[in-house]
Symmetry: C2
Subunit: 484 residues, 2 copies
Amino acid sequence: MTETTSSQILRDLIEIVGAGHVATGPDAAPWSQEWTGQTQWTPLAVVRPADTQQVSEIVKLANRTGTAIVPVSGNTGLVQGTVAQDVIMLSLDRMSAIRELRADARIAIVEAGAILSRIHDAAEQEGLIFPLFFGARGSAMIGGALSTNAGGSNVVRYGSARHLCLGIEAVLPTGEIVDLMSELHKDNSGYDLRDLLIGAEGTLGIITAAVLKLHPKPLAYATAMVAVPSLNDGLALLNRLQRETGGAVEAFEFMPGIFIEAYLERYPEARAPFDTPHDVNILVEVGALSPRDATPGPDGKVPVAAHLEEVLEGLFEEGKLLDAVVAQSDTQRQEMWARREASASVARLRPNVVDNDIAVPLDKMQALVEGVTARALEIDPGLRPICVAHLGDGNLHFAGWPSTEDPGLQKAVKEAVDAEAIRLGGSISAEHGIGLAKRPSMARYKDPVALMAMRAIKQALDPKGIMNPGKVLPAGDQSVPPST
Amino acid sequence: MTETTSSQILRDLIEIVGAGHVATGPDAAPWSQEWTGQTQWTPLAVVRPADTQQVSEIVKLANRTGTAIVPVSGNTGLVQGTVAQDVIMLSLDRMSAIRELRADARIAIVEAGAILSRIHDAAEQEGLIFPLFFGARGSAMIGGALSTNAGGSNVVRYGSARHLCLGIEAVLPTGEIVDLMSELHKDNSGYDLRDLLIGAEGTLGIITAAVLKLHPKPLAYATAMVAVPSLNDGLALLNRLQRETGGAVEAFEFMPGIFIEAYLERYPEARAPFDTPHDVNILVEVGALSPRDATPGPDGKVPVAAHLEEVLEGLFEEGKLLDAVVAQSDTQRQEMWARREASASVARLRPNVVDNDIAVPLDKMQALVEGVTARALEIDPGLRPICVAHLGDGNLHFAGWPSTEDPGLQKAVKEAVDAEAIRLGGSISAEHGIGLAKRPSMARYKDPVALMAMRAIKQALDPKGIMNPGKVLPAGDQSVPPST
């Protein structure tokens, strides 16, 4: 892009949103790197529209001038999905309204820049939940969560972001606004554009608003830390608990002994889950949705907790558990969750963490953990693995501290981990998306006909290749406009 | 198409599948009309491939010669989605295998021609269910159910067809096979092609196989017929029951008094649900997933049934119910379901039934029923409405017997019903799809930007317009190849 064109584009952007809402140079710093600090870039400008109409005008301008545009909301991504060197970044942070929350219809209508924890709070006030919970919820925004089809700790019961969304509004690469703001539970009128835009990481358009599905807040929780001999025993425990509770398991999270050790290094004041360390530690949470399961009985015990204790005691007597602790207070429950939610900060205790986000069928989890660990250690025998997993979803976050600064070796570890997931019928991205970071594995492992169809769709909706170019689809398919 | 070309295509089809599997003339009769008999056509030929490879070869042939191709499975559709005048019909009925059923992983891997009730039976043998239940399940096949994103009576708990599917295999309009047979609960590797093909009614490709999600079979059911003063009271009842049972409502079906009357005319030997007729009759079913809710207590009562009785008694004392009967045996439960499942045969007691399949937000159902009834009667004061509804999903099947043979008047009734659904924020197709029948309403009411995006996707994946041409998207967008 010539300098004249750039300054003309800046003037046009200011015309659309006002001078106070276009940041360049040092003012653009907050949008110039991933939150992990691992990747930096210099955007041409960061533009912060106030509403969907302004988003539409900005995208029309980008389309007319062939300027690439990268949407960003909370900037909590993990796959270099918002890298934006020399191009326009469009930040949705000013579009943060919760427009409407109708408790009877169990929906919330929100703008893309609404922060997850604000949506959580608004729902809670009505005795409802929006069950998309993960560590970054205090800064992650719903637009990015939908664009990456984010998951988190409650997918086992409520599904991923796409399952929590009834409708969206989006600005397509032409700048036109598509209204799919359905509040319906059934709507078979044409192709499922909603699910196409969800998970497309901003490459097919910018999600600007959404109709979210809310769920009743469990009336009580029963939370426990359980140690079992192996991950296969963990799967048996999950199936048993689902059967006993009628599918009421809200979370089923795996923390290996090696993670607990790293956690205690990072937070020396914290407590270990058990007096004796175990290899396979699982955080179990069961939710009571009916008053019958949540109302304390004559003995003062809440039925859902009493029942969980009873099931765990039975399993312990059968020799299927090594240890178990049921939280006796909300403080104890918070302590259990604090360990799991510290995973990102623990992993980043050292700057050059190698991490992956892989999924396999549930019955392959033990093979996966064993396989990836072995393959990673073959490549870097000094690597220290610190993985955690959403065990109930078959989703492993394999992370490790390499023993070397050699980026080639680190790359080799990541690739070996992806290869092992694929070998077990899995995916190279469970819940983080592809961005730039996982394109090599996309190229290597995704069905080539699927890639061809994705490219055809991208070309059809974004013929100029201006929307978040270079992301998701492996190279050779998108025209990144020249930028000098 | 010239006669020479047609006979060459027939020879090529026979080459692919064998002479015994290409039907023409009278042999094609079973595929030459909708099951309702309302629409007839004469296909060029019906070809019945044995496997995905043959489907691929047939579609490649169609692509090469520019011949249109219409996929069909159980032929139980309701929107003229398989009309195939002078073109190839591809029937999936020979591809009916249930390839694999893994109870621990709760999945079934099936071919597109597997009949729903066979999948139901296979799942039940493992104590599981595939909860896609509707009247035509004895002949409907999974390929068609996915292609139309079918719904049915249990969507309130388990979702529609797309929510019951983890992965698909499909043949794209180029003839290439796309492998999306994921068994994963989380997979964010690129665009959601699965959900794009599901519900596309065969216009973007042919679904040939699927990985289906199975659910635990409820250990006991409690089923009741309830009469309430109004549909708004019905919604309050649903919310109350969901709260009391922790979301265990499996079905919540509305049958107005006018439907019960028509039912008793059609089946004179059948019984009415109540001694006194009521306007708003609801079939409620609650499922017990946990042993605690399903194991008879000291009094011999199954807790889930005792609990439903208790809740209904409380509501009756509060004056919120007019009447209620809880099924005391499986025979009584079957009798309750028989009424609801007779709706299609009742509606077709007279040949020229006018029917719609509309959805609105749950809190608009009463307004919808009142509105559509009033508008239909304005146009045809002699019309006799016989509607039923999946009340728990906000989905009304408005049907009526017109007092006139005038097709213009019948069309006007249908259009007025769609208009009323749209006015209340609803959809013109809840679970049947668009086909040919609903294209006028698609053209009129669907967001024009959404239509534009759908056309771009259709053009990108099927540039020759050979896949089920003319369906779903309103005219002017697809090149139907000339057929003489």
